[in-house]
Chain length 301, copies 4
Amino acid sequence: MTIVLGSNRYGKAENRIVRIYRDTPRHEIHDVSVSTALHGDFAAAHLVGDQLHVLPTDTQKQTAYSFAKEKGLLSIESYGIDLATHFVDHIEPVAGARIEIEEFAWERVVVDGAEHNHTWVRRGQEVRTAAISVEGTGPAQQVWVVGGLKDLVILKSTGSEFAGFMQDPYTLLQPTNDRVMATSVTAGWRFMTTDVDWEATYAGIKQILITQFATVHSLALQQTLYRMGEAVLEAYPFIAEIRLSAPNKHHFLYDLSPFNVANNDEVYHAADRPYGLIQATITHDDAPDAGPAWDSYTGLV
Amino acid sequence: MTIVLGSNRYGKAENRIVRIYRDTPRHEIHDVSVSTALHGDFAAAHLVGDQLHVLPTDTQKQTAYSFAKEKGLLSIESYGIDLATHFVDHIEPVAGARIEIEEFAWERVVVDGAEHNHTWVRRGQEVRTAAISVEGTGPAQQVWVVGGLKDLVILKSTGSEFAGFMQDPYTLLQPTNDRVMATSVTAGWRFMTTDVDWEATYAGIKQILITQFATVHSLALQQTLYRMGEAVLEAYPFIAEIRLSAPNKHHFLYDLSPFNVANNDEVYHAADRPYGLIQATITHDDAPDAGPAWDSYTGLV
Amino acid sequence: MTIVLGSNRYGKAENRIVRIYRDTPRHEIHDVSVSTALHGDFAAAHLVGDQLHVLPTDTQKQTAYSFAKEKGLLSIESYGIDLATHFVDHIEPVAGARIEIEEFAWERVVVDGAEHNHTWVRRGQEVRTAAISVEGTGPAQQVWVVGGLKDLVILKSTGSEFAGFMQDPYTLLQPTNDRVMATSVTAGWRFMTTDVDWEATYAGIKQILITQFATVHSLALQQTLYRMGEAVLEAYPFIAEIRLSAPNKHHFLYDLSPFNVANNDEVYHAADRPYGLIQATITHDDAPDAGPAWDSYTGLV
Amino acid sequence: MTIVLGSNRYGKAENRIVRIYRDTPRHEIHDVSVSTALHGDFAAAHLVGDQLHVLPTDTQKQTAYSFAKEKGLLSIESYGIDLATHFVDHIEPVAGARIEIEEFAWERVVVDGAEHNHTWVRRGQEVRTAAISVEGTGPAQQVWVVGGLKDLVILKSTGSEFAGFMQDPYTLLQPTNDRVMATSVTAGWRFMTTDVDWEATYAGIKQILITQFATVHSLALQQTLYRMGEAVLEAYPFIAEIRLSAPNKHHFLYDLSPFNVANNDEVYHAADRPYGLIQATITHDDAPDAGPAWDSYTGLV
């Protein structure tokens, strides 16, 4: 029985880069958190502490900041591809790179009815995400891109039921035909190509997710999620699959009957924990292999 | 030397109440966190554990939820006045009540070009706040209302300087005539009346704060804050004073010169800590006494 | 009606300083977050953006780090006094300074039965705090020191009641004669002198707070808090007053009766929100004036 | 090209269960957060909203609380096995269950030199974790158990180098032969059996991790992690593999030379972001298949 080094990676997490475009008086802002992770033949560093083939995480940071100017930072997907490809192509011991990016949205303030040139407020709604994996060099090089979002908190005050469910001896829940349904959507969608209008696609997918949540009469959060994902795949044939994670942010109807106050679905307690958590993948049945596309750097390797 | 009970209060913090108005198909939502605090003659509870005059915090919670229906929850200021007055007027041992409220904004989603009737996304920008203090009963009763906001994150990419400052042996900072200025505004404004259009006033003040931040050419965050507050007081004569707290969320220009990359105020590092913190009060010189208006329940009593 | 600048202050918040003492192989560590706030005649900065009398917040930061070596960082109270006095004595426009410090505790790891010389784990229990205010110069100079702690989470599984309380139409709560009582103590104690063994006093007060919580049979959290504070004042006559803030971290007995499972005070749900919040001051009746001792920098000025 | 439902699961996350053992005056406390996730044939719920085979997440919650009494909650690993097995064995549509648990440690307070019977403070150091996956029924049933911890913050003030690393045009970092090394360890270890003394094993592994961190002279965090993992596998042959994730919590030596103050590795700035992030698996070369052992419920399915 031999003890060996298994999978491993390293990098610099959460570089907080803000890129201003200021070539005209109307500036543009891109505000991101970038994490880089490299893997390859780094066994010597682990086994004997030899750093000869280890590109410091500080160097990865410097590169990430410099690329915001050298390559530009307009779409996080293309910036991430540039950065990942650089590490794989130019740093010899690197076999593969993963870049994870969060983008924080700002909206231009309006002054005297006009959008201001160089002032914004944080929009604070959802966070846009991207994860790029590049493996190998030359003709064998493969690139996986996952776009996504998180923290999209959405609520409907009617049009949602939960009834007809399974019963066992621990089942106390009462069925309901009209409830508040709320969630905080995390979604990732995997592209089958990099020839994409990243900005338009992001906006389109977000609108589809919202529209489906609003308009599907929901018999369960599972059903709503499926319809959200299905609509995205129907609209964008170059997306292989979409994965959704949705906490059921419970809003419990508050019992006001002891006070002789009618509560006709009007007053709720918004609970913190516990919460239901529903996760689903909607995919093409012949989707290409996902490879490392979903191997998040925030989990254990 | 005698040990005695000093100031004290108690209540129920962070009741997460969601109120839906659904009298027409176009629902409305109000999503708040309500904290109640009572003070009065509660010495027996402290000194000998006698609860005879202690209205349980659970009862305060029940009241807060029920009032969302009984009194309605349209403006947090008026709801807070209703709740505070109730405790002072109807619970005999209570000499004064303080209600602190945070309101989380939702915006209606747009589906097929039209605002949806019953689906929203959390706007996630600033949190609106209110603090109501009521002291005494009958003709002697006094009411203080402080409106406010927090977490309004705002940034300008030019139009901000910091130069000509004091020097001492620990001063290393270089002056700058063009920098990114960003902050997360916390503000509270004290009303001199309760005869107010709370919704219009909130919207108006927020717009003034944003407009001043955007349009004042800033020589220092102090100057910007003063002008923000001054403009609010000029526009709303029934506001006695405004208090502002603004962290200087530093954006440091990133040095790309080692890589022979020009950085013309384009690439920044957004730092977390430490941060400058500027606080100021802008007030009428003859403002009426603030009483307990600013005695926040989140601090020590 | 004239608009004027009211109270104001500025500084550098959350400097994360780690000080290692390494004069012998047995190192010592002090890990703190330091915030500095200055006030004085800074009207020109607010009114016209003139920085001539403004010591930059960056300079305050440099001073805080340098003083960790120059003056040492053994007790946060004495370090804070050094720093506050420096700003008031040596920076001409400064009338008063406030230093707020949090200290994070580390405990030495044990290897082969012996404490290790230079390795620690974060203890992660309570955070020790100090707030120092210095006003004026020369013989008129006054110094206020408040020691304290926060996040001391403590629980007792019996020895706590809540019964005999006031009833009104909104009261649903049932009395109980045996409950779990848990809280997260925030405490501040104000010294009447600076001639104090800071380390021994901190350890002594923490032990008293814990002992009283454990051993007082509690009829209400109010009563427990009073006894905690009273015991501190009895033990340390140089403490003028102590202020306590204690959320009632509710542990609700879980109803297992639908499953025919007995729950003899054994299974609880630990709730997040809402929570009761009890605050009290225990003081000497002739305590000297508190001055600015309690004017926390985290609130509005 | 057909759109289909891919992998999916659902459950109740973050049930905050506190279990008191009170059969003698010396009580015991177990404080956990339990998440349950089920998978199986739930396609009807997704595709057409049919709940007939869906055991509500509320029922999963009720079961988790009841099992804390019915089965007991002494070791989180065995409690998790009981709960997972229940869902797979007794809920017909369930093909597999995953239970994830966090345990928060309390330590008995000491009063008058003796441990108190029923009062504790939260220890607040690391959080113990467990993840149990059960797949299939009857003789084909398989069980995977991963023990672990997170948030073990550990620091050494000497005995750590980083030098001799790779250089590229973006490399600015200077080598160092004496630095502060600090991290917050997340670890998971996979058992090859369920016949384990869970408590002794947890304590033993934690001690090994700490000892190795303290005593290995570190040439890189990678090397330290490998030695930590290797030592665990050497001591516990029934552990198949251990996975470690360790942020390099940078402590930057503060430059005091402008003030003519010597800083002999004594004053540091503790930085928040960005941070290095090192991840590694140390494994037996013939470890059995990991199956779903590492499929965390907090990520996308």
